[in-house]
């Protein structure tokens, strides 16, 4: 396929051309008036009269060169003002490579034993080989978020070389949202998608005709696919001094019962390597299952649970995705105290899922009387409540409802796009927030000196403040309930905020724990919708693999969340293709218009400077004569 480039010129505001005859008329009039503007009293016109008659007889009407020069300058200005642009037809081809967890599926019955991603890369190489060498390409991966492999368009040969670096990255198994983003870009003439997902039969039609979906399937088909996976892991502490228990939730998408082994490995406090701690045999049946380990004595820092059929077991053939066979959890004594002030309980807000904190809840009334009993290192969490009294403790304030000098409410925004964020602040580290869509947020005005961390088009929705007395962070959108991996962006925001508000302790991990979403009236969700090139800012060697990572200096453990549904090999996710929607004012077109306006303005300025210099030189020459 050869997408030939065509170019058409256009004007964004052609009505401005009506000024053209006016400009020419005004310029001519100005030049005619130029001679009349200066009057000189001369002794007599006797000789001049004779001269002008002769001159008129000899000459036609002659416009000086300056007239045409200034006419050109004015025409350039008019072209810029009317929005001259060059609309290059879409020629770029977008290739979307689904690199989600489900693409790591390896058909164990296939002698080649290639994962779906490797098959997709192989197919893509063939596609690229068939393209003209000058075809412009942009290649995207979808997991954990839509990401372009390069900043600029690639040739087919360049794209082929970049394919080797593409790997499976567990993340949200959402292909619909990235496709919707790409479809809104007018520059793409075609969008080719390689994925294991089928089109949702309920997709609205007609879909964007530029999108071509190539579904990669195991050789034996989906029906033959099998998988065993660890979904959740939790550390339950016993209050009566008994050993803690590591609980594991498993899912098995298998055709027949399967004998597997569940292994527990632990990381001692001063060790660098996990050491085997326990092992249990499991007989898995299709569906969900639980298992648990008693935590052995020791000074443990973290545990790793792994699920695998015994070596050499034929059950290995039943595990078509291996990445979901592991889970990690850290073990740390509660070292922080959260003082919750909220009409809701800690469990409802999900704070109980943070084992490193003990949560104490105060009643809404008479907080001042209770403050004396609270240690200085505790962090207040005000949720939907702003007291009229603040102690010197650090605090986290979420979704304020009342005016206060710490977080006055400016306006309630129903929905808004992220306008700005301060990447440098620890609360926002390891997050990339472009085009964060806020379904519900309150714009805030904070105390003088409060740093605006996240702002919508209406104003700040996250403030942070620090002085010699206290730190505080104020969220103008609902941060809770803490859902762990089910809501990664919120979870990391919460963890970052608590880490920053803590007393300098390196905040570590959180628990991969099951959490049933608790519906609380009024709580809103936040979706992140990046489009281009977001970076997952973990500094670990491989931050995008499920696990726990200590990342200096914030001490945050970056975790990767993969959709539990990706482990379900028998029923893969579907994708809804976007419909083609014409933008009223395409961004590309507007950008091109801006580009030409800037160019034309520069040309006009240069021309005016040249004319001024020339006129000064001419007058200087005449004065010398």
């Amino acid at each position: 396929m050869n997408l030939l480039a065509t170019t058409s010129w256009g004007l964004l505001w052609p009505a401005g051309l009506i000024l053209l005859p006016l400009i020419v008329a005004v310029l001519i009039y100005a030049y005619l008036r130029q001679g009349q503007s200066k009057k000189i009293v001369v002794p007599t016109l006797m000789i001049l009269r004779a001269l002008s008659q002769v001159e008129r007889a000899r000459q036609k009407i002659r416009l000086p060169w300056r007239f045409f020069f200034e006419l050109m300058v004015l025409l350039l200005l008019l072209a810029g003002a009317t929005g001259l642009y060059r609309d290059k037809a879409a020629t770029v081809m977008a290739i979307v490579l689904d690199n989600s967890l489900s693409m790591s599926l390896i058909d164990t019955t296939d002698p080649l034993a290639q994962s779906l991603l490797e098959i997709a890369k192989r197919d893509l190489s063939l596609i690229l080989a068939g393209l003209p060498s000058n075809q412009e390409l942009e290649i995207f991966t979808t997991s954990p978020v839509l990401k372009a492999l390069s900043q600029e368009a690639l040739t087919p040969s360049q794209a082929t070389r970049l394919l080797d670096a593409v790997a499976v990255i567990p993340g949200s198994d959402d292909l619909t949202t990235p496709l919707k983003s790409l479809a809104s870009a007018k520059r793409f003439a075609k969008i080719t998608v390689l994925t294991d997902k089928f089109v949702d039969s309920a997709s609205a039609t007609p879909s964007d005709s530029r999108i071509e979906l190539k579904v990669i399937q195991p050789q034996q088909g989906r029906a033959a696919a099998q998988n065993i996976a660890i979904n959740e892991i939790a550390l339950e502490r016993a209050a009566d001094g008994r050993p803690a228990t590591v609980k594991v939730w498993l899912s098995a998408y298998i055709h027949a019962p399967l004998e597997t082994e569940l292994s527990l490995a632990g990381l001692q406090d001063n060790a660098q390597e996990f050491e085997a701690a326990a092992k249990i045999g499991l007989s898995l049946k299709a569906g969900l299952q639980e298992a648990s380990f008693a935590v052995p004595p020791g000074n443990w820092r973290a545990f790793r649970v792994s699920l695998a059929p015994p070596p050499g077991s034929p059950a290995l053939l039943a595990d078509w995705i291996r990445l979901d066979n592991f889970a990690w959890i850290t073990v740390k004594a509660a070292e922080g105290e959260l003082i919750l002030v909220s009409p809701l309980s800690a469990r409802e807000l999900g704070l109980s899922q943070l084992p490193q904190f003990t949560v104490k809840q105060l009643t809404l009334e008479r907080i001042a009387d209770q403050v004396d009993n609270i240690s200085q290192g505790a962090i207040f969490v005000f949720h939907r409540f702003v007291p009229d009294f603040l102690s010197s403790h650090n605090f986290l304030l979420v979704y304020p409802q009342n005016d206060s000098k710490y977080a006055g409410i400016k306006a309630h925004q129903k929905a808004g796009a992220l306008a700005d964020w301060k990447e440098h602040h620890p609360i926002l580290s390891y997050l990339n927030l472009p085009l964060l869509q806020l379904k519900s947020a309150l714009t805030l005005k904070g105390e003088a000196g409060a740093e605006e961390l996240i702002a919508t088009t209406d104003g700040p929705v996250l403030l942070a403040y620090q002085d010699s007395i206290r730190k505080y962070a104020v969220f103008g959108f609902e941060l809770f309930p803490f859902r762990g991996k089910a809501s990664p962006l919120l979870s990391i925001l919460t963890l970052n905020a608590l880490s920053w508000l803590g007393q300098g302790e390196s905040f570590s991990d959180y628990q991969l724990a099951p959490f049933s979403p608790h519906s609380v009236e009024g709580l809103s969700q936040i979706d992140s919708l990046p489009i281009r090139g977001p970076k997952f800012l973990g500094k670990s060697a491989d931050p995008l693999t499920a696990g726990l990572y200590q990342i200096a200096p914030a001490g945050l453990i970056a975790v990767n969340y993969f959709d539990q549904g990706e482990s379900n090999v028998s029923s893969p996710a579907t994708v809804s293709l976007p419909t083609l929607k014409e933008a009223d004012f395409p961004t590309d077109q507007r950008d091109k218009a801006s580009f030409y306006f800037a160019t034309l303005a520069t040309l006009v300025l240069a021309a005016l400077i040249m004319e001024s210099v020339f006129l000064i030189f001419v007058r200087w020459q005449r004065s010398r004569v």
Binding site: V41, V42, I47, L51
Partner: protein, 293 residues
Amino acid sequence: MLPETLHPKLLRQLELLKLRARRRFLGTKQGGHLSLRRGHGIEFSDYRQYQAGDNPRNIDWGIYARSDRLFIKRYQEEQDLTVLIVVDSSASMAAPLTESKWQYARDIALAAVYIALMQQDSVVLAAPEQLQTAKVSGAKAIHNLAAQLLQVQAGGQPDLARAVQLAAAQVRFPGVAIVISDFLLPLPQIFATFNALRARNLDITAIQVLSQQDFKPWASQLATTCVDSETAEELNIDLGLEGQQRYSLLLAKHNQNLLNYFAETQVSFSQITTEEDFDFAIIECLLESGLFR
């Protein structure tokens, strides 16, 4: 009161000049000029035969000794002269304001008046339609004439020929006429002016006063509107280099026509421009005219 331009040092220089008529005229009083009358003057003129009644003192005994014939010596009688000075006071003499030709012309006229009065000539001073003095003489008359002339303001569009004609009528006996103007008039008007003086058989001198603007009326603006100082007529001009050169040629041609006419009619001519130093230029101009020595 004389203007400041006629300062004492310049006046002393002017006193050294003598107004010299190129022809001999018949005057009524003894003055400083040679008269056609023969009489008892100082300068020997010629001889005539002795007639009864002649003064024997005038017999040239030398000729008698050589020729045994009696001849009487004749002497030329020195007579006074009437000097008519006409200063063009039209509006063109006042344009441009920064280079007033009028002041130059006025001061030249006063210088000529001064010289004439100092050598006991009579003076008639005229500025068309604004000033017409009677014939005055005596050195003291300079102040009165200067005061009258200083009150004259150049302006309007007087009929120069008519004014000259009227002024010349005051000159009863033949004398000298000095016309000071820029002569930027149609040639027929100029001819009519000087013909009126020629009819009076006067020894005529023309002094042309020009300014820088007369040579380049467009100043720094090539495209401009020129307004006639006398008629207020407006003319838009847009002169390129060729036009400027053509203007200069036409002005030179006009002046050449003037010179040709003056040569034909034995009118003395000199020219002065306002950018010249007045003290130096006035002496040069008066000497160049041939009327002063």
